[in-house]
Amino acid sequence: MDLASIMYLAVTFGLFVIFALIVGNTYKRKNKQKKEAPKYRMMDDD
């Protein structure tokens, strides 16, 4: 495996880790209210 392939895999894995962190943070139980708040706020009268 050459350096380019290793870099390619590293970037892909890095993106996966970032995505996993976003999922973890979004669905963390204590964040539920905070993460759902915008859907109620946007309903305010324009």
């Binding site: 993106l15 995505f19 979004t26 993460k35 759902e36 708040a37 915008p38 109620y40 946007m42 309903m43």
Partner: protein
């Protein structure tokens, strides 16, 4: 604290001009569909299929699609950020540049100046105009978001930002070219690299111009129309990020069975299949948001447009990944099946959601109720029936075409000549053209309704402004 003073005149202007270009796009589409049936309708050199077809696609994507994006983004960003647009002057400049660019594109394409890159046919001077246009628009929207009074961003803002950044990167990279004269340039990419970059742009233009912005609109206008918040904001965030991570890898599925490296084709195929998940994350979120509200499909015309729109999005994002599988692609690629697919997305998903947005906006930007809800319902049925006739005829003819192309005799020779396969297409091309005419009539009903709303619509009752669209 008083309500901020939002800018609405500029939204009106973008809505009006996007409607003009939308009519042009559909009208030219109908003309080219008849040119395919009757070649005598080609009048060289200007009014030929080869010159009119890119005008149809560019007027549709950049005139109608992007024009509506400009209107909706400017309307939504102010309300979601609870702050006026950062610069009205910049938006006015953007309006003029937008129309100048579309006119310049139409004229040069008619004259035969064409890069031959699909959906990127305009030559380098017009590319420069588009880049300036998009940068001006992006600065205005992003600065408004930075100045926002809301701490947390609603999902529509995320999709808007993705579209701004995505289109900027895709368009600029694919536009890299060496000019050799005022209206001729050569791409800096060559051979398989050129094909790969072109379809990285081509497919992701669908993602960033025809998927992310309509999703931003859908997430905004569905709850505003039903009066009920979306089912899950967290699901929308996960669907957003997974779409962003996956979409940009899929462009090479347009190049299956070509000389580009095999691993790129496989990667594109795999990511295309995975893309079903984020797409359906939004579809399910839309359907779940209707829990207890399905009766509104009967009595709220806006909901009909939006739910049928997201349904076509769901079907589109199942059909697309299937087409990205090597074996299926080998059968249907280059056949009429493919325009059937893309028109379900443009005439179904993108246009239905955009139209719902415009109907929603009318009372708010013109201060008048929509002139006729029965006409809006007629418009709905005409465009849905027209689109279904259009796409279904192409799927059937595509399968027939593929079957005939692949048919072989016992000695390995082809059963049918290419001309024989063409002759078999004529009945389906007639059906397609009729579907297009029905769709065009639907659009004209819509334009009439908008015009009459502006001229004769009643002043809206305050209650109606809260939840618009109930019949």
């Amino acid at each position: 604290m008083g309500k901020p003073q939002y800018h609405t005149d500029i939204v009106k202007s973008f809505v009006n001009w996007s409607l003009v270009w939308g009519v042009v796009a559909v009208l030219v589409g109908v003309i080219v569909s008849f040119q395919m049936i009757n070649p005598d309708l080609n009048y060289p050199p200007y009014f030929t299929f080869g010159r009119l077809r890119p005008i149809h696609t560019n007027a549709g994507i950049y005139g109608w699609g992007v024009g509506t994006i400009f209107a909706m983004f400017i309307y939504m960003v102010q309300r979601l950020c609870k702050t006026p647009l950062w610069s009205l002057g910049l938006a006015r400049f953007q309006l003029w540049l937008f129309n100048a660019t579309i006119i310049a594109a139409a004229v040069t394409l008619l004259l035969g100046y064409n890069t031959t890159l699909e959906y990127h046919e305009m030559e380098w001077p017009i590319d420069l105009m588009i880049v300036v246009l998009w940068v001006v628009f992006s600065i205005n929207i992003i600065m408004t978001i930075i100045k926002r009074k809301e701490e947390q961003m609603y999902i529509s803002l995320w999709y808007m930002m993705a579209a701004l950044i995505g289109v900027a990167i895709l368009f600029t990279v694919n536009a890299l070219a060496v000019p050799v004269s005022a209206f001729k340039s050569y791409s800096i990419f060559a051979g398989t690299n050129s094909a790969n970059v072109q379809w990285w742009f081509g497919h992701n233009a669908v993602a960033m111009a025809l998927t992310a912005p309509p999703l931003a609109m859908f997430y905004y206008f569905l709850p505003k129309s039903t009066g009920v918040p979306i089912y899950s904001h967290r699901l929308s965030i996960i669907a957003f990020w997974s779409l962003i991570f996956m979409y940009l890898w899929t462009g090479a599925h347009h190049l299956l069975w070509t000389p580009i490296p095999d691993w790129i084709q496989t990667l594109a195929m795999a990511f295309s299949i995975m893309l079903i998940a984020p797409s359906w994350g939004s579809v399910i979120n839309g359907y779940m948001s209707m829990k207890g509200q399905w009766h509104q499909m009967r009595d709220n015309y806006l909901v009909k447009f939006l739910i049928l729109g997201i349904t076509f999005y769901g079907l589109q994002t199942l059909q697309g990944p299937m087409q990205a599988i090597r074996t299926f692609s080998a059968f249907i690629h280059y056949t009429d099946w493919v325009p059937g697919h893309i028109h379900m997305g443009t005439m179904g998903w993108v246009s239905l959601v955009s139209v719902a947005g415009i109907y929603f906006l009318l009372p708010r930007i013109y201060g008048r109720e929509v002139y006729s809800i029965p006409l809006a319902n007629l418009h709905f049925w005409l465009v849905v029936i027209g689109q279904l006739i259009w796409s279904t005829s192409m799927w059937i003819s595509g399968i027939l075409q593929a079957g005939m192309w692949n048919a072989m005799n016992a000695d390995g020779s082809l059963t049918y000549t290419f001309t024989e396969t063409m002759v078999e297409m004529y009945p389906y091309w007639w059906i397609r053209a009729i579907g297009g005419v029905i769709y065009l009539i639907g659009i004209l009903v819509f334009i009439y309704n908008v015009y009459m709303t502006v001229q004769k619509g009643k002043e809206p009752a305050p209650k109606l402004l809260e939840v618009e669209g109930r019949a």
